[in-house]
């Protein structure tokens, strides 16, 4: 197991391994999105309180979940990058930052578009909204470090440290609706016997959540592979790869 991990962390082996997964991730993403969108937009019933605008949660909630999930992945990769200094983990940090920023921006924008017809305002300086905005700035911080420090390995060190320190924001986002008086809806209960959503509305949400996860895998693999080729362009295996195409 450890040996396999060690092997996988070498750029060349990772490139070959991830290449086999790409078509599956792409296909699965498209199928899951097709099912989730059809189910959420056409099959799921209208909410008796929020009307049709509740349908925004089918993208807002998965994007918000992903914004935190990607951050934790990035922080873990940052920890590996600081302790074992593997090149691949450094690349994971930089690529997660970009993808995570996209998910966070989606969560914020769709949340605003949902807030206007539901709360009557696009934005309020509420604990949940503010801590999610801070998450966006943390991602921007990691991206800024990578783009401003020439030596990518030095940049990785600084960026990883910021990523790890910023992890404190994740539980703050999650518990913000309990700790402070918040306009935001409480966290969903999907595990207990009495979930906070009817199954007819909950299932499409779960499908969309899985669709977002698989999509993340797809785009992360693509971006890591690009970064590997870019950094290793002087090596023999990359040259052979280009010639042998």
């Amino acid at each position: 197991m450890w040996q396999w991990f060690h092997k996988l962390s070498t750029p060349k082996y990772y490139y070959q391994w991830s290449g086999k997964w790409l078509p599956w991730l792409a296909g699965l993403t498209i199928i899951l999105f097709a099912i989730g969108l059809y189910w959420g937009l056409l099959v799921a019933p209208t909410d008796y309180q929020q009307g049709e605008s509740y349908r925004i949660i089918y993208i807002h909630v998965p994007a918000a979940w992903m914004s935190m999930f990607v951050y934790v992945v990035m922080a873990c990769a940052g920890f590996v990058a600081l302790v074992w200094k593997t090149k691949l983990s450094e690349i994971v940090v930089s690529e997660c930052a970009v993808i995570g920023a996209v998910f966070t921006a989606i969560a914020l924008i769709t949340g605003m578009l949902w807030g206007k017809p539901t709360w009557g305002t696009y934005w309020t300086w509420d604990a949940r909204l503010t801590s999610e905005l801070i998450l966006l700035f943390l991602y921007f911080g990691v991206i800024a470090i990578y783009s401003s420090i020439e030596d990518k390995r030095v940049a990785a060190k600084a960026a990883s440290m910021l990523a790890i320190v910023g992890v404190v924001n994740i539980p703050i986002i999650h518990f913000s609706v309990n700790w402070w008086n918040s306009l935001h809806q409480p966290n969903m209960d999907i595990i207990s016997d009495k979930p906070s959503m009817d199954p007819s509305m909950l299932w499409p949400l779960l499908v969309m959540a899985v669709a977002f996860k698989v999509y993340f895998g797809w785009v992360l693999f693509m971006r890591i592979r690009n970064e590997i080729i870019s950094r290793e362009r002087a090596t023999k295996w990359v040259k052979e790869l280009v010639v042998g195409r």
Binding site: L37, E52, I59, A105, L113, V219, M222, N226, S230, V242
Partner: protein
């Protein structure tokens, strides 16, 4: 059908959210694809020199 697109008068918020999300997700994939093509072209050019 018209009712579906009208979304109870909330169509701007709902379709706006979906359009922005879809655009962001699709563009991320297209950018990654374009970067790969560009990188391979660059490496090909450097090999010919």
């Amino acid at each position: 059908m018209q009712e579906f697109f009208y979304m109870d008068g909330k169509w701007m918020y709902i379709w706006g959210s979906y359009a922005i999300t879809l655009a962001a997700l699709v563009l991320s994939i297209l950018f990654a694809n374009r970067r790969k093509r560009k990188l391979i072209r660059e490496i090909e050019d450097s090999l010919e020199e």
